[in-house]
């Protein structure tokens, strides 16, 4: 008897997308995102980036300090993404207007609002300056808080969806 017969035989949220940033249909047809979809992602990403930048200007991080602004941006973004994707799911299939909303707000805005490169580079620079413990804690807290936040977002939207 082979060890793994069926992959993904269990999934507590089978209707949630596995990869929220891409088009599900991209698997079925050659990778060629519609111009409209690209435009929608571009629009959301524009404002997501702007928001992140402005928050960075308002709440700058000291050199070799704990990157609180990026952390809060990332964790809040993870929460909202979980919330968003579950909420969209509550309303119907990932198609048409709902898909457009996912691309605009999820892939576009939240994808650009949150940033892994800043997280990684801040950590690398902190380590370079011998703040290894600080860097490690920052990475750990970010990753764990991000997971909890995304899961929480899904749960909250699930709960609201179940009550309506």
């Amino acid at each position: 008897m082979p060890k793994k017969i069926a992959r993904r035989s269990y999934d507590s949220h089978p209707n949630l997308p596995f990869d929220p940033d891409s088009d599900r249909h991209a698997i079925a047809r050659p990778i060629h995102a519609d111009t409209a979809h690209i435009a929608v992602v571009a629009l959301g990403a524009f404002f997501g980036t702007l928001a992140r930048y402005e928050l960075g200007v308002l709440f700058p991080t000291k050199t070799d300090g704990w990157p609180m602004t990026t952390l809060l941006i990332n964790v809040s973004g993870a929460f909202v993404l979980g919330l968003l994707l579950q909420m969209l799911l509550n309303h119907g299939r990932d198609a048409g207007k709902l898909r457009a909303l996912r691309l605009l707000l999820g892939t576009g805005f939240l994808g650009a609002f949150t940033t892994y490169s800043s997280l990684a580079t801040s950590a690398a620079l902190l380590m370079r300056d011998d703040h290894v413990l600080l860097a490690s804690m920052y990475i750990l807290v970010s990753v764990i808080a991000g997971i909890i936040a995304a899961a929480l977002g899904i749960r909250v939207a699930e709960h609201r969806g179940a009550r309506s």
Partner: protein
């Protein structure tokens, strides 16, 4: 005014992520979020390089802000990475979830560190 260019670069980054993500998804295994890992790592490498250059020259020019905060920030994503880890957990694929979370952190930090080292040589 710089805010506009940063936002435009971020817009480009987001689109690059969207297109690349779809592309990688058709090539790699559908069961593991390789696309996000690749995107976040390459983006961290780039930001590392930009940061190395900034360190070397002791200052931030507009170009570095646009490429770093703008493009790299829009290109890489933390929310998607977190969500994908949660999905793996929901599928009870705990090993994969851990790999995605830990791998994502390690790969991106290593890429950023490498980028910084490269940038310092410019």
């Amino acid at each position: 005014m710089i805010a506009l260019f940063i936002a435009l670069a971020g817009s480009l980054g987001g689109v690059a992520r969207f297109i690349l993500d779809g592309h990688i998804r058709t090539k790699a295994s559908h069961n593991f979020p390789w696309a996000t890992l690749l995107i976040n790592s390459s983006g961290s490498l780039l930001l590392g390089m930009v940061s190395g250059i900034v360190l070397k020259h002791h200052g931030f020019t507009h170009a570095e802000a646009i490429i770093g905060i703008g493009f790299c920030g829009g290109y890489t994503t933390f929310s998607t990475a977190s969500f994908e880890t949660v999905r793996l957990l929901e599928e009870r694929r705990y090993g994969s979830a851990f790999s995605n979370a830990a791998g994502g952190a390690l790969l991106t930090v290593a890429a950023a560190a490498l980028g910084v080292a490269i940038g310092l040589r410019f």
